[in-house]
């Protein structure tokens, strides 16, 4: 039997598109975080403007995957890869949407004086960024162990999200002056809480990507199960 060169090339193309999308998504998250910390409106706007390219890639990956499923009737790992590619691109797109959301909060916050620095927010950015990095790396290296290990970081992400929430609740309840300033302070706090929730979602979706990678490599569905490799 001949090697399925055309098909194998198509799978390779799909993988490259997915990596491209992953890189763009990672950059969007990084830039959104940077814009948030530096109160950089230009960078925040760039994240928002760049989202359509990621959306386009998701549609392209869907189309290619559908075509390969229909025309090539893939089996085994090829089948798992294509299904995994569709799931991963869907999660990447949602991660990019979270980055856009953080960027939008940043644009709002830039209109007002800054809050005091919140160290937990930085920690949250770091851990969720690491989770996304690890998800992408596990995909590149086809490493299910690394992919599954992302789950362990999720508790840390949840912890820092909670610390951000508590810090800002305290800020709103205890330290706000009366009148207009109170309103502004509450708005700033709420927008920051929303941004922290977005980052927490980045962590969750990165965990999902890790589970998709484990499925592609091992064929095992590890969702909602404690499985170690």
């Amino acid at each position: 039997m001949e090697d399925r060169k055309h098909f194998v090339n198509s799978l390779e193309k799909l993988k490259m598109m997915l990596l491209n999308m992953a890189t763009m998504t990672r950059r969007a998250v990084e830039n959104a975080n940077q814009a948030f910390q530096d109160r950089n409106e230009g960078l925040a706007q760039a994240v928002i403007d760049g989202d359509h390219a990621i959306n386009d890639l998701e549609v392209q990956i869907d189309n290619i995957s559908l075509k390969l499923l229909a025309l090539e009737q893939p089996m085994a790992r090829d089948l798992r890869f294509i299904i995994g590619a569709m799931r991963i691109s869907n999660d990447l797109e949602r991660i990019a949407d979270q980055a856009v959301n953080v960027a939008e909060r940043t644009l709002f916050l830039c209109q007002h004086p800054p809050l005091d620095p919140i160290p937990a927010m930085e920690q949250l950015m770091e851990v969720t960024g690491d989770m996304l990095d690890r998800a992408i790396k596990s995909f590149v290296e086809e490493d299910p162990k690394q992919a599954i290990s992302i789950r362990e970081m999720d508790d840390t992400a949840d912890h820092w999200t909670m610390v951000v929430l508590q810090t800002l609740i305290e800020n709103m309840v205890q330290n706000t002056p009366e009148g207009e300033k109170r309103l502004v302070n509450t708005r700033r706090s709420v927008q920051t809480i929303i941004a922290s929730r977005c980052l927490e979602r980045v962590g969750d979706l990165s965990t999902n990507i890790g589970e998709h990678v484990a499925f592609i490599v091992t064929g095992m569905n590890v969702k909602h199960q404690k499985i170690a490799f």
Partner: protein
């Protein structure tokens, strides 16, 4: 495997003269299951199929070593009545091969060979078999017409009816749909799903999709060896061995 064992092969070797075509095959085939044998041309899957009702005995210079048990009995034991074995283990071939007789006579043929003469019994059994082969509605008004006037797909279902008429336990199918168009193929595949309620079916197919669609168990043969056997779903989604993966994903050679 939950189903009771129907066939069991143990350390089976098969030779065409000096050429070893099957090498140490051990497999258990469950009752009322569809088992698909897959693998590239020359891998031994059809040879193995023909071992199951001793069709290879008809080829000069062939030799079998090892054991095949049907319902616990050695089918290669000297006392075995091969004609009776082939009645219990019917076969359908790649190309439909109806006899140049009427539709009725094609189905009644095996019954007459078995000595059934009573017209009513013959008629009942022919009708039952044509129903089982999902052909009755299409031919009930022309049972005395020539079988050769049927379409390819109908002829193949007639051959299945002919095999079923003698009430076998097992049906061996050697690429039964490879000469048929997609609609006729679909009918054969639907029929296989129906027939497994009452029969054990072993099918050789070159179509991986067909194996995936119709079978419960898939066995992958390569160069005379049985490489991997497992639930069809598992074999086609996450096979255990790289060789199986390479074959079913088309990366062989």
């Amino acid at each position: 495997m939950e189903n009771a064992q129907k066939f069991s092969a143990r350390n089976l070797d098969f030779y065409y003269g000096d050429v070893k075509a099957l090498d140490d095959i051990s497999i258990t085939i469950g009752k009322n299951q569809v088992t698909a044998l897959i693998g590239p041309s020359g891998c031994g899957k059809s040879t193995f199929l023909r071992c199951l009702n001793r069709m290879n005995d008809l080829i000069p210079g062939t030799r079998v070593q090892g054991l095949i048990h049907l319902d616990g009995e050695d089918i290669y034991a000297p006392k075995v009545d091969v004609v009776n074995l082939r009645r219990r283990v019917g076969m359908v071939f790649q190309k439909p091969n109806p006899f140049p007789k009427t539709i009725f006579e094609n189905v009644a043929y095996g019954l007459r060979v078995n000595g059934i003469k009573d017209k009513k019994s013959l008629r009942q059994q022919v009708e039952k078999s044509l129903h089982q082969a999902a052909l009755w509605e299409e031919v009930k008004d022309r049972l005395n017409g020539s079988a050769l006037g049927l379409s390819g797909g109908q002829q193949q279902r007639l051959c299945i009816a002919r095999a079923l008429a003698v009430e076998p336990d097992v049906l061996l199918m050697d690429e039964p749909a490879s000469a048929l168009d997609p609609i006729a193929t679909q009918k054969i595949e639907d029929l296989i799903h129906e027939l497994k309620k009452n029969f054990t079916i072993i099918i050789v197919t070159h179509s991986m999709q067909q194996a995936a669609r119709v079978s419960d168990i898939t066995a992958f043969f390569y160069m005379g060896k049985l490489i991997e056997t497992g639930d069809t779903e598992t074999v086609f989604t996450r096979p255990s061995l790289q060789q199986t993966e390479d074959y079913i994903t088309g990366r062989f050679g």
